[in-house]
């Protein structure tokens, strides 16, 4: 009798485990992605120079693209390990974006950028406030930051 109960328990548990495995695969609960508070739109100002590096890095080859920015911090640049990659030509550019509800604090970590005619060079101690519809230029790429309503 004990053997029968043991078999019943283990069989039911085995069936339950299988079912849990299947339900985990088809779950629609989501992955907990953060809601984007800002959108960054990239616009190419001149034809892209395709290199083996840009091909390997999987950088987009189109003339424009956009991405959502959640309330968090991220690296934006033309390096392989940047959170938000842009296909800007030339030497390394790396920006630190601290995305907040009312503004984005931007810090130039590597290279330089242009905002409204002024050039900002590498300075990890300074923070530049970016507001809705502000545009920054990374050589042949222009980025526009749009706040989501």
């Amino acid at each position: 009798m004990k053997m029968l109960f043991e078999l019943l328990t283990i069989a039911a548990l085995g069936f339950l485990t299988l079912q849990m495995g299947f339900s985990c695969r088809k779950t629609d609960a989501g992955e907990g992605a953060a809601q984007a508070a800002w959108t960054v739109r990239a616009l190419r100002l001149q034809p892209a120079k395709r290199t083996l590096w840009s091909l390997l890095a999987g950088l987009p080859s189109g003339s424009g693209d956009s991405a959502g920015l959640p309330l968090d911090s991220c690296f934006l640049g033309n390096g392989l390990f940047d959170d938000c990659k842009v296909d800007a030509a030339g030497p390394r550019i790396r920006l630190y974006l601290n995305v907040q509800e009312d503004q984005i604090w931007l810090t130039v970590l590597t290279g330089s950028i242009v905002i409204g005619g002024s050039r900002y060079r590498r300075d990890p101690r300074s923070r530049i406030a970016i507001h809705d519809l502000d545009r920054i230029k990374l050589r042949d790429i222009e980025l526009e930051f749009v706040k989501r309503r």
Partner: protein
């Protein structure tokens, strides 16, 4: 579909356990039966209340673990002097169910858990509990484990996720030395908090808590910290502290010796009785086979923590290797379920949920590794299967937090 299968499983386990061990008093069996009914009732209420059925898979797995906990409690009931309701697993189960529904409703329908003061109080309260335990509690097995009648491990499970989520999800308004490449101050505060907490744990001789909180905090820190040098410094500091404690803290040193040299430890007079749980598996796994040796076959005198820190050994020996394997598979699905969350929740909610999932994951990982000899004995129980009222109640709070977050709407 999972609900009726759970009913079959719990009924089968009940009959298997009852037919394996007979007591003169009918009280242990009655408590076991009552516990099963309470779990069924709670599961039924949640099944009807949770419209999206997102919480059901995890709750069924938790119920499976609780049922096993009841069976283990029944199996060891004969060894206990007292069979009062407040001293047994069924009594804990009543508290767990009540606490679950209160926390579930609070998390799902209110935002009071996000209030700054509550999170600060949780963080401060945890420090008070750890240092208060050192000052007020009596020695238990060489450690100061209790504050206010509750294990400090339980206090930590309750408070740490809220404190960590609060500190990590703060806005990055300033940085150490004003340099963006350095740590943001909120992350620095979290590091300082963890260091102060660890110092208290060292004073209490509670190294299992350091291990679990340390692993969880490390993952959170590595996710948030964006400076490679700081990460390297952090890793070296943690490794150094671990080596130092393994060399200088006597009981950690003993456990390290048992882990690294189990055969030599078995013959050592100094380590007599400390290596048995690990060695038992090595010596008797062949005899236990796939189907186990039967419930009640492993005498508790063999090792005193077979219903708590070494419950996996009991599962493999008594309940079968197959059942233990299925429990571990279910644990993986449980962690996977804990990591799912509706899209669009605020940063605080996401980090609260992540911390909860990490805590469960590391508890299961460390317990299993300790019991199978893959890691030194850490004194960590398996969630809900191991006995331990305060820890199980606090784990239920975390379960309720996740269930509540699953039902929340995205922030607009």
């Amino acid at each position: 579909m999972s609900f009726p299968i759970y009913v079959i499983y719990s009924a089968g386990l009940f009959l298997w356990t009852i037919s394996s061990i007979h007591y003169d008093s009918p009280l242990p069996a009655a408590q076991y039966g009552l516990g099963q009914l309470l779990i069924l009732a709670a599961l039924t209420i949640m099944f009807m209340a949770d419209k999206g059925k997102k919480a059901i898979p995890g709750l069924v797995i938790a119920a499976v673990f609780c049922s096993l906990g009841l069976s283990i409690a029944y199996r060891f009931a004969g060894e206990k002097a007292s069979i009062q309701l407040e001293d047994v697993y069924t009594g804990d189960l009543i508290s767990m169910i009540v606490v679950f529904f209160i926390v579930y409703l609070l998390i799902r329908f209110t935002n009071i858990y996000r209030i700054k003061l509550i999170n600060l109080l949780a963080g401060g309260g945890l420090l008070l509990a750890v240092y208060g335990a050192r000052l007020t509690s009596a020695l238990t097995g060489g450690s100061y484990l209790y504050f206010g009648g509750i294990m400090i491990f339980g206090w930590a499970l309750l408070a740490f996720p809220f404190t960590a989520a609060f500190l990590i999800s703060r806005r990055e308004d300033s940085y150490v030395r004003g340099n963006v490449r350095s740590l943001p101050w909120n992350l620095m505060l979290m590091l300082l908090y963890v260091i102060i907490l660890f110092a208290g744990c060292v004073l209490c001789n509670e190294f299992g808590l350091i291990l679990i909180i340390g692993l969880t905090a490390t993952v959170l820190f590595f996710i948030r910290c964006r400076n490679l040098l700081t990460k390297c410094f952090y890793t070296i500091s943690c490794a150094g502290a671990a080596v130092l404690s393994a060399m200088k803290v006597p009981h950690v040193h003993d456990r390290m010796q048992i882990w690294l040299h189990p055969a030599a430890a078995a013959g050592s007079e100094d380590l007599a009785g400390k290596a048995e749980s690990v060695l038992y598996l090595f010596r008797h796994l062949g005899q236990a086979g796939l189907w186990g040796r039967g419930i009640g076959s492993l005498p508790v005198s063999y090792y005193p923590t077979l219903n708590t820190d070494h419950v996996m050994v009991t599962l493999i020996n008594d309940y079968s290797l197959i059942l233990a394997g299925l429990v571990l598979a279910l644990s993986l699905f449980f962690i996977r379920w804990l990591l799912t969350l509706p899209d669009g929740l605020c940063g605080y909610d996401r980090y609260l949920n992540l911390t909860t999932a990490l805590l469960f994951g590391f508890l299961i990982l460390v317990h299993t590794a300790s019991n199978l000899g893959s890691f030194l004995t850490a004194g960590i129980g398996f969630p809900w299967i191991s006995e331990g009222s305060s820890v199980n109640i606090m784990l239920t709070v975390l379960l309720a937090v996740h269930c509540g977050l699953l039902g929340k709407k995205a922030i607009s």
